[in-house]
Subunit: 334 residues, 2 copies
DNA sequence: TTGTAAGCGTTATCAT
DNA sequence: ATGATAACGCTTACAA
């Protein structure tokens, strides 16, 4: 079994070539206090010449890894791609590198987060709506944490969330203004919509909006286990029953796409509004109305907060980003 | 700056609790030879009790990290999501964990690959069509490598590639059979289509097919710097000029989607075939004909090859996966 | 079958 | 301003 990076230069080699101590090289590497310009110069040259790169593992043994971890539920969901893109861009000018751990729904998020902790990341961002708050607090006591999209708050970690209350209200308001009465909410499994999750909030606001506007009797929540194919199936089945809804408020864009495809296949005229703002929604063939969560912005903001925390901030910051309605042709007046 | 994982159990703690040596614990962890069932039992219990997890960094100092690295050009491209999904699934039952390094087109792929090497991954998979073969060989001498989608081969690393020659021929054949004469090829920047890259092959086959079929005079290659918006712009501009093509062969699905949206906007009747087989292509509102590369299969296969190499195989394996034509309504007889 | 001990490459403390 | 040195947690010869 070949040893990785065997033969590559170490800090020792650099020190020898520059004629200084290892400690000096280490200081130069970290821009630490107390290095003369001359020293910096010579060491820099040696580093260049040997194309030396510090081993993350050796660093981890003593201090930081300059690595931040990002846990995502799923790589296929376009919204998470947007978030990661924003995060990645925000990290570009820093010394930090991002490693990703996809949870793949599997035995849920903790396994992925633990994998990141095993790598001794200097901080971590997680999109983990379902892990227990106590467990999160434990993690946050060990390492700086920014939670993404959770509405419960802790003094121990920061959070970046979308204003789902506002977003869901606006989405419903939009459908009301178009004259829709019979609106079905398409969302994910019940077990995944606890009150403090984004989808939990959207479900609650949907129900409130229906009740408050006197449409309570027409309220209907349709659940789908995961992903798009199933949304398609579920909607197909629903569209075979009567009375038909005139509009769908989908908990996320993948669900909305599934609903649209079912509507096409059933030949039912249906207004559909999604949630997230994935790129394909703007395509003229799709033209899906959606609440744009500004994923890139949220991802970038999460990185900024995390870097602040790594630098030493200990008071919690909870950031709320406002979603924006994108009105396209999938929602029409009835 | 809080120390990560400070206070967490070490192998020492486990050894003490189980009343054995650190070496013994290490052997149990790695299922190494020479441990009695009794020992295994006691150590296992201690591990459980302390919820001990080995530090990747400490392991890296001596042996392996049980971590494999995956470099991808871009997380927003749905095809790469499919590949990563397949890879991730193939890794699920193993002791290995995957870390991802997105290159974001930025100073190109080497930076991302180096970041993975800094983490001393036990092996790496890279989608890096543009890095120099010599550089790749250097990397492959240090660590097991599987290259994804490159058609040049090396004795030093494995590769998983799609049969782009076949795929592009079939795509062109498909358009020919539908009666198209004036077919434009929409592809990425010239600098990114060297002969051994997937896109380079597709361009060449396109030109060959046009020439061989007597359509040489109609051949036209349209280049786009990156991604979908620009494909849209480029096609819009092209569709304003005469004579119009009747069909587009797009180098990948994002380009195809851009072409379709330009066609809609210009009101031009245009057949479009893409390449990759992203999920949205199957949506009835999009219904994009495409060459399905079976990304998940390719990703999973890359993992299998890499694990074999990590286990000790040193002869190179080059695997070719056959793409499949998905005929949908975006390509019609003219 | 089990234990002892050396060493991996870095950073931080403490002298100089 | 610079350098010597002691960790950090694990694996692996080698010894018992």
């Amino acid at each position: 079994m070949p040893r990785a990076r065997s033969g590559a230069a170490t800090i020792e080699d650099v020190a020898r070539l520059a004629g200084v101590s290892r400690a000096a090289v280490s200081k130069v590497l970290r821009n630490a206090y107390g290095v003369s310009p001359a020293m910096r110069e010579r060491v820099g040259a040696a580093i260049q010449q040997l194309s030396y790169r510090p081993r993350v593992a050796a660093r981890a043994m003593r201090g930081s890894t300059y690595t931040i971890g990002f846990e995502v539920p799923d790589l296929k969901n376009q919204f998470f791609s947007r978030v990661l893109s924003g995060a990645s861009a925000a990290l570009a000018d820093t010394d930090y590198q991002m490693i990703l751990a996809p949870a793949n729904f599997n035995p849920f998020e903790p396994r992925a987060v633990e994998a990141l902790l095993d790598h001794q990341v200097d901080g971590l961002i997680a999109i983990a709506p379902l892990v227990e708050p106590e467990w999160l607090d434990d993690v946050a006591r060990r390492v700086p944490v920014v939670m993404f999209g959770r509405h419960d708050r802790s003094a121990l970690y920061d959070s970046v969330e979308s204003d789902d209350e506002l977003g869901a209200r606006r989405a419903m308001q939009h459908l009301f203004e178009l004259g829709h009465e019979s609106i079905v909410h398409l969302t994910i499994a019940e077990s995944a919509t606890r009150p403090y999750t984004p989808h939990g909030v959207r479900v609650r606001v949907y129900e409130e909006a229906m009740n408050e506007s006197g449409r309570g009797a027409l309220a209907e929540v349709l659940r789908v286990d995961i992903a798009q194919e199933l949304a398609h199936e579920t909607m197909l089945e629903r569209l075979a029953r009567r009375p038909l809804p005139t509009a769908i408020f989908a908990g996320h864009d993948e669900l909305a796409l599934g609903a649209m495809s079912a509507a096409v296949q059933s030949g039912v005229e249906l207004s559909v509004i999604g949630y997230d703002g994935v790129a394909i929604a703007a395509h003229p063939l799709v033209s899906l109305s959606t609440m744009d969560q500004h994923g890139e912005t949220m991802g970038a903001r999460a990185i900024e907060l995390l870097l602040e925390r790594i630098k030493g901030r200990t008071t919690a910051v909870h950031e709320v980003v406002e979603p924006t309605l994108e009105h396209r042709s999938s929602t029409r007046a009835r």
